[in-house]
Amino acid sequence: MSVSVLIVDDSPIARKMLKRALPPDWDITIQEASDGAQAIDIYRQGSVELMFLDLTMPNIDGYGVLEVLQAEGLNCIVIVVSADVQPQARERVLAMGAIAFIPKPVNPEGLQEVLRQYGILV
């Protein structure tokens, strides 16, 4: 069964880079959102199982999305993917409900590790 994935990042290049780093044979359906508001809309439609979330976005940023998701029951797995790789950023998003923090540029092996660790990939 295809995993429903949402990639949230305002940079189309970043979204492409993430897609490139995903495990090649993974059975997934990908949706994309270019800002927090769009991401929340798609989430609320109830079709997202795994969300890759960027932090720095205009209007509603990654932290904003996490807040909404937390308030609304956090019905999907959130992995934050960000260039802001400071320890404090990592701590903050984990406290807000993300299960993992992956630094940019995304390392395919590192990504697979995380997915396996949390049982998303077998």
Binding site: S11, I13, R20, T56, D84, Q86, K104
Partner: protein, 202 residues
């Protein structure tokens, strides 16, 4: 869109700069053991004659200290770091010095910062596009300068430059350092090629 780069190349550069600046901020945070705010990188193509105004626009009307470092290889250019003067003492504490710094120590700190930031940021971008980059020793531009005096357009060897700027802000010590990466317009082509190669891999 930036003159000399097409839409895709500009988008790629924006994201790569984002990543590079993030790595630079991370380097600083590890050295300084403080949280560092990063602004979103600003990219622009600027006439050499407007560079002083650009710097003024970045830092505001206040006395600054500045240092620079050149890089070469896959693409060539220079990195500037501009620090507001009132932050000098905060800077010293962050770099692990106690009390007041003498002139030599202050200079050393400014040179270390441009070396760290330049290395992380330019190095980060270079790594992404698989370019080999080397760095020259950093040098001091000056202390207690008027922002308009940081760059002297008369002495420049170029007409236009590609500018990438990010502002690093340390919360607790209210320190602000602006990193400006400048590429002469005749190097933009080399960068564009590297960006194209990178885009092909996506």
């Amino acid at each position: 869109m930036i003159k000399g780069l097409n839409e895709d190349q500009t988008a790629a550069l924006q994201e790569l700069a984002n990543i590079g600046m993030g790595q630079a901020g991370n380097s600083l945070a590890r050295i300084w053991k403080e949280f560092v705010h990063l602004s979103i990188p600003r990219i622009a193509m600027v006439d050499a004659s407007r560079l002083p105004d650009l710097i003024l626009g970045f830092v505001g009307d206040t006395a600054v200290s500045a240092s620079r470092q050149a890089f070469h290889g896959g693409f060539r250019g220079e990195v500037l770091v501009v620090v507001t003067a009132k932050d000098r003492n905060g800077l010293a504490q962050l770099m692990g010095f106690e009390g007041q710094l003498d002139a030599a120590e202050r200079e050393e700190v400014l040179l270390d910062i441009v070396n760290i930031l330049g290395g992380a940021c330019v190095g980060g971008i270079a790594q992404q596009v698989s370019a080999e980059i080397g760095f020259s020793a950093p040098s001091l531009i000056g202390e207690d300068l008027d922002p308009l005096d940081v760059i002297n357009p008369e002495q420049l060897a170029i007409d236009t430059a590609l500018s990438l700027e990010v502002c690093f802000q340390v919360e607790n010590r209210s320190l602000t350092a602006h990193l400006v990466i400048l590429l002469p317009n005749n190097e933009v082509g080399a960068l564009a090629d590297l960006l194209d190669q990178f885009l092909c891999t996506l």
